[in-house]
């Protein structure tokens, strides 16, 4: 039989999706269901003095109107519970919810929500992350000491407006800077951006006896269950969470917004209550990628080799830290300012500030695009100053086995030199360019996912297998991957493995999708289960054979990649086009060939959007780009063909040697594009790289 992994996969959910029969959370409905709508704050920061719901209650069809007083002291979050389900004393951003309505129709609910009469007293708002962290800044969370943190105690912060703070130091930075031939310093900035998944958040909650049921777009159902148990004060096993198909996630769907007020509405009405977020609200109130301002200082020797590095990273966390799952309450890779390079000595300090902007959370490789844009621009500026070819400078500094990275960790293996050599070849680096063209390079590295899970496998009389897993599939192809791993190990056709995604009542605890984890963790659990099935079968056990496959993936390892990008620039208008792009990616063994290509090409388009046009423009706390007309993401016409080179022979810790790809390749696109535009004559230090900024840079102005 031919190797399963060599044939392109068939998505297990593909048929449902292309025929339109796939069901999403917004499609869930129940007898007697009510519809929810919410009233949000028009002010970025204000005290709530009074809430009058009389007019809202009088709207025909309205069944319940709840305010902060009804839910107090319920706050939610993925780690820190700092976001009130409904604000009772204070609102902290425009859109912060103060009341929730359940009514017979969505129209009645919306009409009533608009009639909730709130008396506010405006408070001074703070929008800039540095201003928020300055002494004497208005306090956004005066009661922070009372907040609960799930699972851990909250690490100390240097300022009451800091959500999280981390400092790392290794080597001897002072000596490294003293020994440097040159020292360079640059500051770069990025605005917040949105994931722009197709499906807005939606949820349906009902209470059946003692059991709370939730249908949700949350991609980590067990985490939501734990959070809801904490917020509602019910036992975890009294909650059943079901996540049907998720229409795109990119990290954003780890945070639930509507489920909390829906729970309270379902409790007071005794009816199922559903809501589907309007996309305008996705852009106005849901968790964005953090805006950032990053200052980098790096010393290099005469050959351009890094001797010491210093970084000060500031993130705009917005009004709540609720969207962040990691204990430090920072974007995951907040400290990765020079990912993929040898850094003998470094001091990196990162702080995430509370501001009166909409809350920021996780977005595909959290923290990495910010740091990558800063670092790759910084190194390119250094290369130009030194008169060294930018790719050459990277080759000299690329991390090798035995080197220490920016975190002070030693790499035991590194594919980075090979990635760069391949990039040099595949992109035709050095080939003369037509006038008006520029070429840029950027590299990146991302850890593969870690974590543990279990799933159930049953082998029946015909030799077919059913796998039950609590994992969700947000479009990444998790279920297909699990099926193919089992099929390959048992040497059967993938069609003979059925993978069922089941709710939290019918599956072992699962960490959900995120952190580049699924192929590493769920894939290994599937492999473990398949091996157990094979062993039992070979030992003569009679079908049906049921086993539990488990994995605890702890290996720390990196995937490496690099881009070369070519742009064509119009010097009179500043407009430019990306005309050519090459990506070399070290991905290990490929399980889903189509999905791997899709993740890498999609990651490229994702990064391209951030480079070229994406920006949540916020004025006085209000998002003005509150539709896809204003909030621009690239159309297919904006995305050039991508020359993709996969390195598959350096095995990772996943099944059969797989590595992660979902968040591998989006971060470095921004730097590669910025560097290509700079090569064509315009260095732009803030994203997005608009024609206007390019023209200003061409004419010698600030950009």
């Amino acid at each position: 039989m031919t190797d399963v992994l060599r044939t392109p996969e068939r998505r297990v959910e593909g048929r449902e999706k292309v025929t339109g029969t796939a069901r999403y959370a917004a499609d869930a409905a129940r007898e007697g269901m009510l519809h929810a709508a919410f009233a949000g704050s028009p002010y970025p920061h204000a005290r709530v003095l009074a809430v009058d719901t009389a007019a809202a209650r009088a709207v025909p069809g309205v069944r319940a109107v709840l305010t902060g007083a009804d839910v107090r002291p319920a706050r939610f979050g993925r780690r820190l519970l700092d976001w009130p389900v409904l604000a009772w004393d204070r609102v902290r951003f425009i859109g912060d919810r103060v009341a929730a309505v359940a009514a017979d129709t969505p129209e009645a609910a919306e009409r009533a929500a608009a009639l909730v009469d709130v008396t506010y007293e405006e408070l001074p708002a703070v929008f800039d992350m540095d201003a928020a962290l300055a002494p004497g800044a208005p306090l956004i969370h005066p009661d922070a000491a009372d907040y609960r943190m799930l699972g851990v105690t909250r690490p100390p912060v240097p300022h009451p407006n800091a959500q999280g703070h981390q400092v790392h130091e290794h080597g001897d930075p002072a000596a490294g800077f003293a020994a440097a031939a040159r020292v360079f310093e640059h500051e770069l900035a990025l605005p917040p951006v949105h994931h722009a998944y197709l499906e807005p958040r939606a949820a349906l909650v009902w209470i059946d006896g003692a059991t709370v049921h939730v249908v949700t777009t949350n991609k980590a159902p067990f985490s939501l269950r734990a959070q809801l148990a904490a917020v509602a004060g019910v036992a975890e096993d009294a909650i059943v969470v079901h996540t049907p198909h998720v229409g795109g996630d990119f990290g954003g769907k780890g945070l639930s917004l509507d489920e909390w007020p829906l729970y309270f509405l379902a409790r007071v009405t005794g009816r199922p209550v559903r809501s589907v977020l309007r996309y305008a609200d996705e852009l106005q109130i849901s968790n964005t990628r953090h805006g950032a301002r990053i200052r980098l200082r790096t010393g290099v020797d005469r050959d351009g080799r890094i001797t010491a590095h210093e970084a000060r990273v500031r993130f705009d966390g917005g009004a709540y830290a609720a969207g962040k799952p990691i204990p430090f309450l920072m974007p995951g890779e907040a400290m990765a300012t020079l990912a993929g390079y040898r850094v003998p000595a470094a001091r990196v300090e990162a702080t995430c500030a509370y501001t009166n902007h909409l809350p920021a959370g996780h977005d595909r490789a959290p923290g990495q695009p910010q740091n990558s844009f800063a670092a790759e621009s910084h190194l390119d500026l250094i290369a130009r100053e030194l008169g060294v070819d930018p790719l050459e400078l990277r080759e000299r500094n690329a991390i090798r086995a035995g080197d220490v990275d920016v975190h002070g960790d030693e790499w035991h293996a590194s594919e980075m030199p090979r990635v760069l050599a391949e990039l040099r070849r595949a992109s035709g680096w050095g080939r003369p360019l037509p006038p008006g063209h520029g070429r840029g390079v950027a590299l990146g590295a991302r850890h593969v996912g870690r974590g543990k899970t279990s799933l159930e496998l049953t082998l029946d009389e015909r030799g077919d297998v059913v796998v039950r897993s609590g994992v969700t599939d947000q479009g990444g192809g998790a279920l297909t991957m699990i099926g193919r791993v089992v099929a390959r190990e048992l040497a059967i056709a993938p069609e003979r493995v059925r993978v069922e995604q089941v709710d939290t009542a019918r599956s072992p605890v699962d960490p959900g999708v995120g952190g580049s984890r699924v192929t590493m963790v769920h894939g290994n659990a599937a492999l473990d289960g398949a091996r157990k099935l094979a062993a039992a079968r070979d030992a003569g056990a009679a079908p049906p054979i049921r086993v539990v496959g488990s994995a605890d993936q702890t290996a720390h390892m990196f995937g490496s990649y690099a881009y070369a990008v070519e742009v064509e620039l119009d010097r009179e208008t500043g407009a430019f086009r990306v005309v050519d792009a090459t990506l070399v990616a070290d991905v290990g063994t490929v399980i889903n060939p189509v999905a791997v290509r899709g993740q890498l090409e999609g990651g490229f388009a994702f990064g391209l959007g951030q480079a070229l046009m994406e920006e949540l423009a916020i004025v006085g706390g209000r998002v003005v780009t509150a539709s896809f007309g204003e909030y621009k993401i690239p159309s297919i016409a904006d995305v050039p063909p991508l020359r993709l080179v996969l390195l598959t022979d350096a095995p990772g810790p996943g099944p059969f040697g797989a590595k992660s790809v979902g968040e591998l390749a989006n971060p470095a696109v921004v730097g590669a594009v910025a560097n290509a535009v700079a090569d064509a004559g315009a260095r732009v230090l803030t994203l997005p790289i608009s024609a206007e900024k390019v023209l200003a840079a061409l004419r010698g102005g600030a950009a």
Binding site: M613, V619, G629, E630, A691
Partner: protein, 323 residues
């Protein structure tokens, strides 16, 4: 979203009667429906014009130019090979307007009468001047897409791609109401909101646009349309330029230059066109005319770039007519 009643008459007279009674015209709905859904427009009664025979399609009468029914879908104009020969500028202006899906549904009349795209205007929660409030939020807010010239209290820009192109062809419109028909210059349909007039269009209560007419003379002119966008599809113009001229022995006559995206109306300055009469449309003449067009421009905080961009696009458009 507010509640409304909906009627789809077959006869124009019936539609006009309903409009006279205060109903709102609905064509393809690509603009109006969004405004209603977002709570910005709150019509009580909608009259769907798409069931009316005779308002759809275009025709040419020798010597009388071209007549385009107001309910003609944009895609019909864009894809007609015959029209592309007679009036290539129309196809050029539509090719990058909106998306193929929207052009299939959106109509000529709806395109000309679409509301502006100012993000404060489109946000139900912002009570700006144009919506009856006391101030324009763009003046001291995010103003990158707003007007640089010709604005009074309101700094929105005329968003249509079709309007500058048709104005560069001296287009007129046929306006119908239950009281009768009148003709007007298409350029006069657009008004800069000012004083008591908090609106973008000059139609009177109860009127609709029945057709657009392009005179025979305009068919003899060469025309072109250039549009600067932030992405390659589904993007309103940052700046656009429609230009047309008759070229005789290397000299330009009957020049028209109309800018989109820079002013509350499609922006045209007679002196700039006059200045180009008889020139060879060389760089100097083009840039001088561009300066006249943009004379008195007062950009807001974020949109000074439009002036530079408009100047360059005017030069390119006019140069291409000469070439």
């Amino acid at each position: 979203m507010s509640l409304f009643s909906y009627t789809k008459p077959r006869a124009l007279s019936e539609a006009l009667r309903l409009l006279r009674g205060g109903a709102t015209a609905l064509a393809g709905g690509t603009d109006l429906v969004t405004l209603v859904r977002h709570g910005v427009a709150r019509p009580e009664r909608l009259v769907d014009l798409t069931g009316i025979e005779g308002l759809r399609g275009w025709s040419r009468e020798k010597g009388k130019g071209i007549r385009i029914g107001a309910l003609t879908p944009l895609a019909d104009l864009e894809t007609s090979a015959q029209l592309a020969k007679l009036l290539p500028i129309v196809r050029e202006s539509l090719r990058d307007a909106a998306t193929p899906q929207i052009r299939n549904v959106g109509t000529v009349g709806g395109n000309l009468l679409q509301r502006n795209r100012c993000w404060y205007f489109r946000d139900e929660g912002v009570p700006c001047w144009l919506k009856g409030g006391t101030r324009c939020f763009a003046v001291d807010g995010e103003s990158r897409y707003h007007a640089v010239v010709g604005a009074h209290e309101c700094w929105m820009v005329s968003p249509s791609d079709l309007a500058p192109a048709l104005i560069a062809c001296d287009a007129e419109i046929e306006v119908a109401s239950s009281l009768g028909r009148r003709r007007m210059k298409l350029a006069d349909l657009f008004v800069a909101p000012q004083g008591k007039r908090r609106r973008e269009h000059a139609l009177r209560e109860g009127e609709l646009v029945a057709a657009v007419r392009v005179p025979e003379g305009a068919l003899e002119r060469r025309g072109t349309y250039l549009k600067a966008m932030e992405r390659k599809a589904w993007s309103f113009a940052i700046v656009s330029v429609a230009a047309s001229a008759r070229i005789r022995e290397g000299r330009a006559r009957d020049v028209r230059v109309v800018l989109g995206g820079v002013a509350p109306v499609p922006w045209r300055v007679a002196a700039a066109e006059k200045q180009l009469e008889g020139t060879a449309l060389d760089d100097n003449a083009c840039l001088a005319a561009a300066d006249t067009l943009l004379d008195g421009a007062t950009p807001l905080r974020d949109n000074g770039y439009k002036v530079t961009l408009a100047r360059e696009l005017v030069r390119r458009a006019l140069r291409s007519l000469a070439g």
